[in-house]
Amino acid sequence: MATPRRSSVNPVTGRIPWILVLPALIGLVFLALPMVGLLVRTPWSTLGERLAAPGVLEALRLSLITATCATAACLVFGVPLAWLLARVAFPGRRLVRALVTVPLVLPPVVGGVALLLVLGRRGLVGQWLDQVFGFSLPFTTAGVVVAEAFVAMPFLVISVEGALRAADLRYEEAAATLGASRWTVFRRVTLPLVAPGITAGAVLCWARALGEFGATITFAGNFPGQTQTMPLAVYLALESDPEAAIVLSLVLLVVSVVVLASLRDRWVNSP
């Protein structure tokens, strides 16, 4: 009996349908072209001196420091929050989980406004902070960290909660039968088991904090050396010195690519 002739492209599913391939290619070009544009228009000859300009390094330094501090804060508060959501059945857990994801979908500018209303000098908590400790967060470097952490923390919490849910609970049971208290189980078994998830979450969180614009400019303002991070500097430079904006953008692009490369195995190449 003769076997039916099959296309050599894919013996299982047959010919690739162009109705899918065409939009796919358009999508690819749409995503890649802006990067190409950035590279093409970069003033390569004057790149060195432009990078050395005082404002650039200052903004980059501020961005790296605030994004790292925000990520650290997210780890300290976000990992326990993720653990609580994943492991402890408490009333209103679904509501709490929904609240955690709100900053993910909230326009960052709105987040900035909300932060001002709470932590501003006349805000609900800010008023009290000002009276008791004599300090206020808005328009300070600490304010930048707060704004970035607010926007970036959901990324960490969701990633770590997912890892915790996927982890095999029986390892924790085994640890308990060996005499480990809940804190020891968390420290010596749970954390190492979900370490890849925490790393991935922290990198995503850091990248989001690094690119934060809306909440930062609303809550912390745009003071060079104090609250002017890279994205703010790019936006400002675009008005006065477009070439400077391109150089700053290139720096951010390089940082993003490095982040992407570090996640390559876990996210991009995963089936």
Partner: protein, 345 residues
């Protein structure tokens, strides 16, 4: 150290309710089919599954109101659950560390256990690079390293391949014999239970159906499950001297023992003979049955028969060919009275 426990775990559509008493140095095997509740019982002893009712006393000290981390237990899990991020050494040292030993001291203790298991050279290996037999021994070392008074083993050999299992079973038997505390193990493998345990507790449907020494249980099965495990035909009936009327078929079996009232009758499949024609001069223990299926069983052939009495018969492959046995066929079945065993129900 004596364990006395009354374990009640209520679940939707499942109730575990068993009473256990295990003496110091005794190894008890909970034996039963899947879903019988034997692992639930073990988890309840460990404190991993909360009791609905009942109590657990070890030497008069009550354990049931303590969390697993405060019970003097060591547990070996079915697939060992060695911590994948720790070396074999640190897996074994985990328990001693939790008991307050310093890092170095805990590692020395762990090294001692690994050496006893013949695994000193694998101390720094990660669990994924260990063979099944090695992982099993590391898991046992980890459970013993906390100096438990109650050792719990959940299907300790089921994750091993057949060849390794025989070897590890012998080692495990040796270790358990040397263990001073109380030991409860769970298995669905009768051979494993009989080799490892001093006493079998058979659990079916959340309750104990039979218990006793391996020889007692094997020789006097009280449920179909146990009879099948030990490869016996088992019937209930009522005895009048050496004649037993089987329920519900009404067929009368001649046996060697004298009894009166409800009894079990057990006999091995090798005691059953099959004939195409009604045999001459053996009027007793004879009836007609229909072959339901035929399968190979070691170097014998196991013939299963329906009819008034369901029975399994072991015959040689030659006999199958000579008699021309096929499923669906009607044959005469006879059982030698001298190979039957009747005991009170």
């Amino acid at each position: 150290m004596t364990l006395q426990a009354h374990l009640v775990v209520e679940r939707p559509r499942f109730l575990l309710d068993i009473e256990l008493k295990v003496d110091q140095g005794e190894v008890v095997a909970l034996l039963g089919p899947n879903g019988a509740g034997k692992t639930t019982a073990l988890r309840a002893l460990a404190g991993l599954t909360p009791l609905s009712r009942g109590r657990i006393d070890l030497d008069g000290e009550s354990l049931h109101d303590k969390g697993p981390e405060r019970r003097p237990i060591g547990m070996v899990f079915q697939d060992y659950l060695l911590f994948p991020h720790l070396s074999a050494l640190d897996n074994v040292a985990f328990g001693p560390r939790c008991q307050g030993l310093g890092k170095e001291q805990a590692r020395r203790t762990a090294m001692g256990w690994l050496a006893q298991m013949g695994l000193a050279e694998y101390a720094h290996a990660k669990p994924r690079s260990l063979s099944g037999g090695q992982a099993q021994r590391v898991a046992l070392a980890r459970a013993l390293a906390v100096n438990p008074r109650l050792l719990l083993l959940d299907e300790p050999l089921s994750a091993l391949d057949a060849h390794t299992r025989v070897e590890i079973r012998a080692q495990l038997r040796h270790r358990l014999a040397g263990f001073a505390g109380t030991c409860v193990l769970v298995t669905h493998d009768p051979l494993e239970a009989m080799v490892l345990a001093d006493r079998l507790v058979v659990i079916e449907g959340g309750g104990i159906v039979q218990q006793g020494s391996p020889a007692e249980v094997a020789g006097n099965p009280r449920t179909d499950y146990v009879a099948r495990l030990v490869g016996l035909n088992l019937y209930q009936g009522s005895a009048d001297g050496q004649a037993v009327t089987l329920d519900p078929s009404g067929i009368v079996l001649r046996v060697t023992e004298h009894h009166r009232g409800p009894v079990f009758v057990a006999f091995p499949p090798s005691a059953v003979a099959l004939y195409r024609e009604r045999p001459e001069g053996t009027p007793r223990n004879l009836w007609q049955g229909r072959i339901s299926h035929i399968e190979r069983h070691g170097d014998q052939v196991r013939v299963s028969l329906d009819g008034p009495v369901r029975v399994g018969a072991d015959v040689t492959p030659v006999a199958v060919a000579e008699l021309g046995l096929t499923p669906g066929q009607q044959v005469w079945v006879s059982v030698k009275a001298t190979e039957t065993h009747a005991y009170p129900a």
